[in-house]
Structure formats: structure tokens, C-alpha cells
Symmetry: none
Subunit: 232 residues, 4 copies
DNA sequence: TATGAATGAGACTTCATTCAT
DNA sequence: TATGAATGAAGTCTCATTCAT
């Protein structure tokens, strides 16, 4: 089966790119890791860069599929971000090497042929932006520049992942990732949430204002089993 | 003068690294750009990587010097971040190519010899963290994890710069950078500021609480002439 | 076939190292001589030094195999040295370029990786020493320091080869080599041989002592067909 | 004084050539060792090779002067060789680094400009040959090929020095050198000496022949104060 | 005479990619 | 489809030598 080999090569490339960086990684090492010969790589990919592009593409598609799934559901922006965050972080935990590559190699100047890499960030940002725009329309959040907001959230998120992955070291700081997953939605809520709706999680007694009757604290992150199918 | 050549080479390397990326950049091109011969580069630097390291070092020192200057002054955390943001963004405007390198090459797996590159983010984060810790002690801000907070701010900031620089293209989106400089402090204030002290800049009339007499709205970012001298 | 190319490269390297000396020789020239591309050299050898090491190794193995073959046979020390000398000189005649390299590059300070080069002389000396020790035990020769004796013989032998090869010039002085092959054993006999057993080849009439009946003048160097198979 | 600097550079070059080998040695290192700048080296020598040539020249002259001194004296060949051996070995002990260079770099293919290096061995051999020829004429020794004899002696001598110096290691095996100095003349005597004149040092009681009246055992090596002035 | 920064040709080695089997 | 030996362009770095000061 063709996709079999392609997949094996992709997996092996992830290991090698992670361990050595894209430029230092050699096709020989990838082939050895995959248990095939160099020639075989070129039967499934046009070039080494193409392998990297494919790695990005697969991940991009996962995220986009997930984001499109979120879009169709009638969720608050908090739940949407919470959902994406959970999914994104889960992927990082599942394959830290992959996550590392996604961050390290993203900004590098690659040939035109690997447009996917440039798309990765752009496509996710578009979705984030759409989420902010919709929330603005629905007056879920305070007025803000949705482009900028999307970018800030994305940047913060990636910095957290980058840090959790450490500097090329072996381990993944899972505790840090979990702390972040808990705190980020709260901060987002404070930063963007409408003042008269947003409860202050730190002051549940509501010292300076009374909770309105019928008002419910909105858990920013909750299990959403119907979304899990979106993950491969 | 020795530092003369070293500086010329540094400047030329910035241009070439920016245009071609560190790995694609050749020592021949750098030498040509600097108007010296290849050998001369190696009279001032141990290796190509050493040149990159020096580029990071110079910028790191600028930032650290500025941050240490801020530390000594009795400023609110808002003013501190505002100040650093202004300074950092000003540097980006002054030399977008340099800013681009700082972001693109930061995460690459370089040899141990270029520890400066690994230090760059770490040192700035330490300062950010220190600022958050101090603000917490002074009860300027809500309780939060200072490590995480520092990281989020840093990540958001870098994402903005990355976006403003565009994807390797020539231009710098100055408008975007300025918008960001205006909005980020506000968001930080909302996300971290203490509720009973932080005025809501969107609602200057103070619908939900009365401004205290003598209380002045603190513009998060204002000209601080005494700091300007810190920028070389 | 792998060993095919390796052998071609070895042969070509011998030519080039001989003509230009190891340091002046370039991998490009070796590749050209071998009719392959530079890269191919590095498919069969780790480095230029490795090629030199391999050249020494092949020759060392030839000599050692021959010396071990001699060891197993019940020969007088004279026959042993005579045999080795004949074999060694034959190799020199067959490939003077190779012989030249073996002498010229032997003393150079090479990297640790080319330990074979250091082994070359050491291993042959060990065998020589062993031959002297055995002869001493069998009282074939006068008392002497076997280490020193081995060294003197080796040095004398190499000086002869060095001279016969000329100073880097093209030719090999075959006559000189043959003269030496004839005279050296005689001198060895005189220098080390037991006085009451050693016939004086210059005075076959035995002026100062009578040849014992049944005693045969031992030609130090005679055809030993059974040894020829030891030469590849 | 011009020769002052030239001498300092020569001494420094000896140290560096010894430690790193001629090719690996850099002019920078030599200059640093000499406490001058690279440029200065080129004020006293035409090239790096020229420095090496000068090193050989100085030593060659020492040896030749000594050999010429010997020639003028009415000494037996044994005394002559004994004298040269003593002097040569004394030089080795005095400056092992220098001796090492003389052996290591002698066979290398150097540019034509450094003919001295090629002369070194040739000139000494000529003298040896002359000594043998004269001894033959005076019937001091058995008939032999003086060219070959000279070569064998030279080769044996150099092998001993090479071994005593070790393989580039720090130390000099002085004991070995002294043993050799004692044994070599004896072996030479046996190999070349006339049978009816040569006493057998192993059998001082003269088992197989009577010492002639008035015949004195000739010590092969004795103090010759009149020669010491020849050593700088 | 001394300096030492500048030079630049040229060396070794790597490695993505090809293609005959 | 799989192989892997062969390719060769290209890159980094070295270092003997020069020459203006």
C-alpha cells in the first residue's frame, strides 16, 4: 500500500528532524530510520523539503478539520478556544517531537514549493480571527481588533508549547502544559470578556459586584466528547 | 580599528542572514556584502555560527541593559512593560531584518558554542518574570503564575513582530505594529490588573465604580524621556 | 562490487601520493586518477588519511602474513631474513611508488585514526625481534640485544630501499637493490653469526680455520618456492 | 643583530615543527613562540619551507664540519665512526625535538628551493663512503661496496635514533641510545673488520687466536678532546 | 626593521538527488 | 516498486604570504 510507506517515512522524518533539525538531518538517516533505502524516499516525495511540507500539511489538516468542526457547533468563544487549546496541547503531549518541528521549522525561509509551511500559521490564524469576529458580532466579547487578538492568542499558545518542549532536550514538561491549559482561558476571559458578564474567578464572593440571578460561571474548558472524533 | 571590521561584518551578516536564512547564507556572500575577503571574517569570528551568536549577543545586551535600567526605576508594571514594548518595537522598526533573524533563527538547533542564542529568550523571560513577581508582591496585579504570565506576554509580543515583519517579504507593516503597541498594554491590564485599581479604559466614565479623587488614569504607555538614553 | 572501487581508489591514491606527497595530494586528483567522482572516495573511505591508512594496512598485512609463514617453517635465521628481504625487495620492485610512500609518510605525525601507520614498523620489528630471540635460544648467533639487532637490520634495509628509490625521482635503481640483497645477508652473518660456525664467504678456502667435513656453505638467499605462495 | 632574530625563529620553529609536524605547523604559532610577528619571519626567511631548510642546513654544517675534522686526523675507521656516532647521538640528546624533525621531514617531497634537505643525507653519506673507501685502501677492512656499507650504517643509525625518540611522544629513551652507542661499533667491527686484526670483544681471552704482541685492543670510542671543539 | 590585518586560492568533506539494475 | 552506489556542486574554513603603516 502506497500510503503505508509514505506514512512510515513521515514518522521517521519527524524523529530525525526533531533530533537533528531539518538542515542537519540527512536523507540517509531518515531512510535508515524508516528501514527503506534513500531512493524509496524519492518515490514518495519530491524532495527533503517536500517531506517537511507533508508533515506540516498533515498537522494543518488535523487542526483545520477540528476548527471547522467547532465552527459548525453553537459554542461560546471560550468553549471554542478551550476546545482548540485542549486538542492542540493533547497533540503536543502525544507527539512532542512533532510539535517541536512545527515550531522550530515554521519560520525558516523554505523554498516556494513548501507553501504549506507558510499556510500553517496563516490558516489557523484565519480561523481564530473568524472566531473573534463572530464573538464580536454576537457581543460575546469587548470590542477589539480581531486580527490582533487572534495573533496574540496564537503567539501566547505557541510560546507555552515551545517552553514546555524545552530547548531540544528530551523531555516534555507536562505539568507546565497542564497549568497553562488551566490558566490561559481564564486570562483570555479577563482580557476579552465583556465586563458585565465576566465573573471574576479569583473573587467568587463577588466583593465589588453581585452575581446576577441565573448567571452561571462558564467553565472555559469542559469535556466535549462530540469533538473527539475529529481527532484522528 | 578592530571593532570596526567586526561591526561591518555583523551588519553585513544581518542583511544576508535575513535575505537567505542562516543556512542558505554563504560566507562568501557575507564577505562580499561587507567588502572584505572571506578570510577576514575568520579573523574576527570563529565560525559562521559565531557571527550569528554575536548578532544575538548584541541585541540581548541592549535588551538586558534596558530592562535593568527599568528595574532600578520605581515604575508600575504597566509602565515597565509599556517601556520595554516601545523599545523592542522601536528596534524592530529600525532594523526589521535584524528582528526577523532574532525570531527565525532562535529556535534552531545550533551547536553548543552559540549558547547566546539560547540565552536570548531565557534572559528576557527572567526579567519579565521578575517584573511580574515584584508586581505581585506590591499587589499591583491579580494573583497569577509569574512564569506563565511572562511567557504569554513574550509569546504574544513575538507573534506580533513576526506578523508585522511578514513572511520573509521585504516590508514591515508599521501600522500593525503601532496598533499592537497601543492595544497590548490595555489587554495586559485587563488580564492581569487588580479589579479595584484598574480603570477600564473602554469605560472612562467608570460606570461600575467611582474614580477616587486625586486618582489619575494611568496611561500604560507614555513618553519616558529618562529611559531614552538607554537606547544607544 | 564494493572491493573493486576501493581497490581502484587505493591504486590511484598510491600514484598520487607518490607523485605529490600525501599533503600536497588532493582528493580531486585522486578521484580523477581513479575515474570516479570525489564523493565516491568518501563512500569507501572516511577521509583522505583513511586512504593512506588503508594503503599501509594492506602492505602490513602482506608482510605480517609472510613473516608468520616464515615463523612456522624450520629455517635458520639467515634464511628467514633472506626470505623476508627477498620478498620485501620484490614488492619494492613491483611497485616502487608504493614503497616510496611507505617510507616517506611513515614518520609523519598523523591523526590517531591512522594507527596502522604507527603499527607498520612496530609489527615488523616485533617479528624481527622474535627471530633474533629464537636464534639466540638456538645458539645460532652470538649473544646480542635482539631489540637493537632487529632495529639495526630494519633501518639498514629501509635506507637501502630509500636510496634505491631515489629522491622522489621516477626511477628505481634495480641494480643497487640487487647488490644489496646479495651483500646484506653476508654482513648480517658476519655481524651476528657464531664465529665457529660462520664460514667466511670471502675466504672460501678457509685460511684461518678448516671447514668441517659435511659442512655446507649456506647461501643466505635461495629460491624458496614454498614461500612464494605467501605472496598474494 | 640580524642573526639574533633568525636564531630565535629557528629555535621556535624547531619546537613547533616537532610538536605539530611541518605541515600542521602554522607560521602564526612559530611567530607566537618566537615572540615576534608573522611578518618578521618573512624578513628573515623567504618562506616556511625556507625555515625548515635552514634548520637542516645548520645541522648539516655541524655534521660536515665534524666529519671534515675527522678526515684530517689520522684515525682508524672505527674511531672515526665511533666519533661521529658519539657526536651525532650527543646532538640527539641535547635537542631531541630537532633530531625528530631531521628524521621525520627528511623524506618528504619539498619544493626544489629546499635542496638542503635533500643534501643532508647525501652529504653525510658521501663522507661515510669516503671513510669506507679510505679504510679499504688502507686495508683496514674487508673488501666491500663502500656505497652500500655507508648506507647501511647510516640507516641503522637513524633507525636507532628514530626509535629512541619514540613516536612523537615526549621522552627520549636515553638508555636505549647509550646501549646502541656501545653495541653498534662492535657490530660494525665484526661486519667489516679484517679477520686477522679484529679482536672479538665477546671473547677477550682470544680462544681461537692469539693476540699479536704489541697489538692493542682498539677501543672504538674514546675521548678525543681535540674533536670536541668541533661541536659548537 | 617590525607589525599584523587582510588576502583569497584552495582544501576537504557533505549530502540531496539520480538512475541503472 | 525498491535499491543504493555514484554523483558533483557547493560550503566552510585554513593559512602562507603580502604590504601599508
Amino acid at each position: 500500500m502506497k500510503s503505508d510507506k509514505r506514512e512510515i517515512i513521515r514518522q521517521s522524518a519527524i524523529k530525525i528532524f526533531y533530533a537533528e533539525g531539518f538542515h542537519q538531518a540527512t536523507t540517509d538517516r531518515i531512510a535508515a530510520e524508516a528501514g527503506v533505502s534513500v531512493g524509496t524516499i524519492y518515490n514518495y516525495f519530491r524532495s527533503k523539503e517536500d517531506v517537511l511540507g507533508y508533515i506540516f500539511q498533515v498537522e494543518l489538516e488535523k487542526r483545520v478539520r477540528y476548527l471547522e468542526g467547532l465552527q459548525k457547533q453553537d459554542l461560546s468563544i471560550a468553549d471554542k478556544f478551550g476546545g482548540f487549546l485542549a486538542m492542540h496541547f493533547a497533540q503536543v503531549k502525544e507527539d512532542p517531537a512533532l510539535a517541536s518541528i512545527l515550531i522550530r521549522e515554521r519560520n525558516l525561509p523554505h523554498k516556494r514549493s513548501v507553501a504549506v509551511i507558510e499556510d500553517f500559521q496563516a490558516r489557523i490564524l484565519e480561523h481564530f480571527e473568524g472566531m473573534f469576529e463572530e464573538a464580536l458580532k454576537k457581543q460575546e466579547i469587548r470590542p477589539c481588533n480581531p486580527k490582533l487578538a487572534a495573533l496574540l492568542v496564537f503567539g501566547a499558545m505557541e510560546a507555552v508549547i515551545s517552553r514546555a518542549l524545552g530547548k531540544g532536550a528530551g523531555g516534555l514538561d507536562r505539568g507546565f502544559l497542564e497549568d497553562a491549559a488551566r490558566e490561559i482561558p481564564m486570562l483570555l476571559f479577563r482580557a476579552f470578556g465583556l465586563p458585565d458578564l465576566g465573573p471574576d474567578p479569583d473573587q467568587p464572593d463577588g466583593r465589588d459586584r453581585q452575581a446576577q440571578p441565573g448567571e452561571e460561571a462558564q467553565p472555559v474548558h469542559q469535556a466535549r466528547p462530540e469533538m473527539d472524533i475529529l481527532l484522528d
